[in-house]
Point group: C5
Chain length 315, copies 5
């Protein structure tokens, strides 16, 4: 039959081996208080677990570890607006004791089913105790970071292609919004480094020797993520500047071209103006070939200007 | 009846338990000197407490802690000008001894009534002594930081929306003034990290073991604030660049459009000029359909130009 | 009567209490050599004291401290040019031994009269020995830094107001020159932090326990100065970008307006051109109301264009 | 005859001297599992070796070192597009034990033939054991970094020359793509510093005393590479800004020139317009020299404008 | 007579005092090998000494110090092009043992004659042994850094003056090339700090107590150089932005002016166009004063426009 958590932990303690894993989703204070009492969780940690909006951290209260991780999910957007989100974030907290793990999830996309399945398939992992669960969770979360960075990399590639395409509308807005999301991702990723390093270095007896190198491995992946995020940051900054340079260059080319055409057209207009004057004595106007010759002069002056502008690369 | 502070402290010391909390608001030297003598406060700290304009810090003089915190308040502004302030700051000093807390407030918005009420409602907190008061104050101050960052986040969201709206007046001024205020907020927030860490690490016997993890919690919230403030900074910098790119793009679009129209109009003007010439021999002018055909030519040339410019995306 | 410095130091050493304070202003090598011998000053420090152009530092040679401080003075300028200086800097060196202080001043504005007067008014300070003099000097110098940062703050406020005023000439030059001066101020201020911290931490037995917290206080003020200088730096960088954005926006507005007027005017010109053509058969020209109707058409077309441009916010 | 790796390692262990070097290229799990068992390699390291996409690192599992290096190759491109790569990267992993080296290569360009040849030519190196092989590999990899930075330096020189040439098309795209590649190179180079420093400082007994200074030497070369890469970064950032300044200047020159010509031409057009008016009474039109004098006035007005614009440096 | 280096070192070792100083200029391997054997120099250091292109560093091989310094020389350039160099760099290596100094120079401008002369003039320095020579060299090299920074300061002053002059051609190229050279100088200067600090802190018994404070002095000068170079960097970055702002402002002023003139001229052209129309009934044309009044209207409309533009600061 189903066990209450009190029965489960009592059974585990009677046997002297194994551990209890309790999973909660956005619990309210009432739901968590009973559990907190049974497992003797620290009041501050419990408060954090209920209210969420914590930053990634690792705390040790007596015999219990309390870890907060930010989960992220990539949201595909057709076009970015100031209201759209690329990176949706949630939170995952874990209380880890000698014989229990309590996980608290906030947000939609932080399911741990996959972690549980993987652990159940590798009994030698589970035998390492609650720390193995914590590793499984951290590993899973950092893996999703990797997925998100890859999706963002694709987005940036697309923006690059658009910016440097010949005549598409370059949008500084897209780059800015991308940057905003990258900054948010960075806030989720960076603070996790220290907790992972501590776990890898034997910060607490709850994490046995064998599990530490696994945390080192997770920290390694996190560093890969951090480096990518940092380079996104730099790329986007440079991209804004490059976009500006590109628009300015485009502007120069466009305006030069139109103005050059206006200048070409204004020359025959001037000539026409001259022969439109009403002077009594204008020898050319009486001449039979005056008209065709003037037209020819107009044409030639236009051609000469056109050639000159071409040579100057203005057209 | 009311106690003088000398009587209060004498009573407390007689009983051997409890503590005195004295709250002062912008005291002058005379007002503070008596208190300083009674509680044996260090001259430098007293001077700091009177003159304000200190940066956040924690000092230890013999048995007494002296802590300075910057309080901030968000001031809503319709429109920002170079004279308007978004973040109004004040100061809060606290002398903490074994059996007393003396708080000194500078500026309008540093009321501690809420802190006092909360403490009075949790006797187990008060029983931890003066350090619990210091924690209450620090917690309250950092909470107001969080509120202010949220308000600023809203402001930045508004500016973003304005910058990227289709045709509103983009104002570099707004962004700059926002940046200026964020820098000021940073100056209030950042230096507080070290004092809080020290208090959490058992810098002084005045802060008992149990209270330390509370300070760690406050420090955690401060780090959240710091990270937000840092990302405001980066966002605003990128926003200035994105604004510039947007204006330049807008400029290109506008000028190209107007110039293109001028170019279109100048073509029939040129043709009209030609037929305005006063040559004796101009066969077309004698032809009955000369006028309507010329009008047609003008129209067609305008249409061709219009189509061409459309294709080039200039119109 | 007046004492030579040898007599003074001999007297002090005979009495076994008190100390000698010798003040020099831009001494040459001859002037300082005698003193150097009497007080057994280290050759490298003496060389530094004569040649100036040192950066702030604190050196310990056997029993003698050698400290270099940069003094600064704000110079009010009507308008900034590439040759004008806002921050004029000088130097102040101090040799501090068990029973002597030798101060060497370089530059006009490093007078220590005020420091001497203040010390003479507080005998309990003087009784702390030469270290109290060193504190007095450091305190005075850092106070002048504060004054200078306030003056610069005013200058930056003025520049801000100018940049964002509706139609004043924005000068990138002013901002750049301000930045240059802020960088120079930073070079004077920043390196002083380490010496002050060392003095506060008991780097040398010459500085007695009681004086250390005074140096901590001075270091605190220096940190305030450093933070301000750092934020000037950032503000000016952002200000250059904001200025650029503002000019570009202004340019767009101006050019759009003029070009729109040119476009409006070119429409009646085109119409006039058409009725200036010399075709034999132009029915309108024979019509009695041709002229006023054409004028009306011109007027209407101008009005329509004007309205359209207004709607587009081009006028 | 050929040895299997089991026979080889058995032989080496029987003799008590020498070591086995096994080289693998993109092995799958089956291929590596046998080897992993023979040499008792740690599961996490083996996984890393199969899947690649690791960042440079050094791990110690019991008696075995596991090192990951990024190999890079410069790819010459005629013109850069968003799809082209300048820096192609691969991976090189090495397991180093007391009596064996196992190298795993990923990517085309990570051949170790040259390293093997060099080692075979210097028996005194080989006698230092597996660590000498590790040094040979690290030295070789860092040498290729140096080659790549030199090729990139040439590319940047070319871009510089183009940007500042009189009238070539300046491409912000090229600079941006260069920056992107430099960032990627940096991600390969920077993380290698710590592993090399550790090897130089005697992190593990597998690296004997004599080999350590060789690793220090390699680390030295890596620092040279790092500094170059860092300066590429800064140069490219400045280059984008300088390019923008150059385009803007060019734009100003071009537009000023064309507009000035349009202004010059519009003056005779206006004069011609005046004498094209059909007033009954226009004395000049009846005057015999009216026409040539008007032409002269037109010419002179053009010349005067031309001179004025020249003086203003607009032409 | 002349000594071979073997005889010299044998003599020195026989006497038990003094030391040998051997100076080499770009030696090939043969030339250095004999010396390396005599003085037992480490193979890696010897290799570095032959091949040059090292970065500044300090290595200790058993009893021998090996130090690399970058020498720099300012090259005056009329105008900067992408090929011109402002900072020409060479290298200076020194092997320092208990009783010998071997200096190796690469590049033209690294003469040590002056150092040798100065040392010969101060026998008390020479008596401190080889370390005094190393100090002499380091002091000399850092002095040349100071000279170069002063020359660069002058160059930057000149560029500043040019950028902010009223109408000179602002060249982003000059600023960029200056930045490039400053980056190169930085690469020579910065890495020397650590070696000097080590020598000042008693890293090796070869440097006796008395010489250490001299190295501290050299390190002080190097810090001055570093700070200047760092501020050059920042100034040049700001200068590029300020230049861009200046060009944009200039562009706005120029284009506004020309466009305003074109707008002014197009008004009488339009009026002339109207009276050039060929309507039968145009009362004004028959009026005797039609022509002069029209001319007057044209003039007045031009003046009104001129005044309006002036008021708007467009002219």
């Amino acid at each position: 039959g189903r066990w209450t958590h009190e029965e489960a932990v009592a059974e585990v303690r009677r046997r002297g081996s194994g551990f209890v894993w309790i999973g909660l989703h956005e619990p309210n204070e009432d739901q968590i208080n009973g559990i907190a009492e049974t497992f003797d969780l620290h009041e501050l940690a419990v408060e954090d677990a209920v209210h969420a909006h914590q930053r990634p951290k690792l705390e040790r209260y007596d015999d219990t570890l309390f870890m907060v991780l930010k989960t992220v999910r990539y949201v595909a957007n057709k076009t970015l607006t100031t209201n759209s989100e690329i990176v949706e974030s949630g939170e995952l907290m874990a209380f880890v004791g000698r014989d229990f793990v309590i996980t608290v999830r906030h947000g939609r996309h932080a399911g741990l089913a996959r972690v549980r399945r993987q652990l159940e398939e590798t009994p030698e992992q589970i035998s390492l105790g609650p720390a193995a669960v914590l590793h499984g969770i951290a590993d899973h979360v950092v893996d999703t970071y990797l997925d998100v960075t890859e999706a963002i990399q694709d987005d940036i590639d697309k923006i690059e292609a658009e910016v440097f395409a010949l005549r598409t509308k370059v949008s500084a807005e897209q780059i800015y919004l991308m940057k905003r999301e990258v900054l948010e991702l960075r806030r989720a990723v960076m603070p996790l480094a220290k907790p992972l390093q501590r776990l890898a270095e034997g910060y607490t007896p709850i994490v046995p020797e064998q599990v530490r190198s696994y945390f080192r491995d997770v920290d390694d992946h996190l560093t890969t993520v951090s480096e990518r995020v940092a380079s996104f940051d730099e790329l986007l900054t440079t991209l804004v500047d490059a976009t500006l340079a590109k628009i300015t260059l485009q502007q120069n080319t466009d305006m030069r071209k139109i103005s050059a055409w206006v200048a070409i057209i204004s020359t025959p207009t001037m000539i026409a103006g001259i022969y439109g004057m009403n002077f009594e004595v204008m020898p050319e106007t009486d001449w039979a070939f005056g008209y065709p010759v003037t037209l020819l002069v107009m044409l030639i002056s236009c051609l000469v200007l056109f050639k000159t502008f071409r040579r100057n690369r203005w057209l």
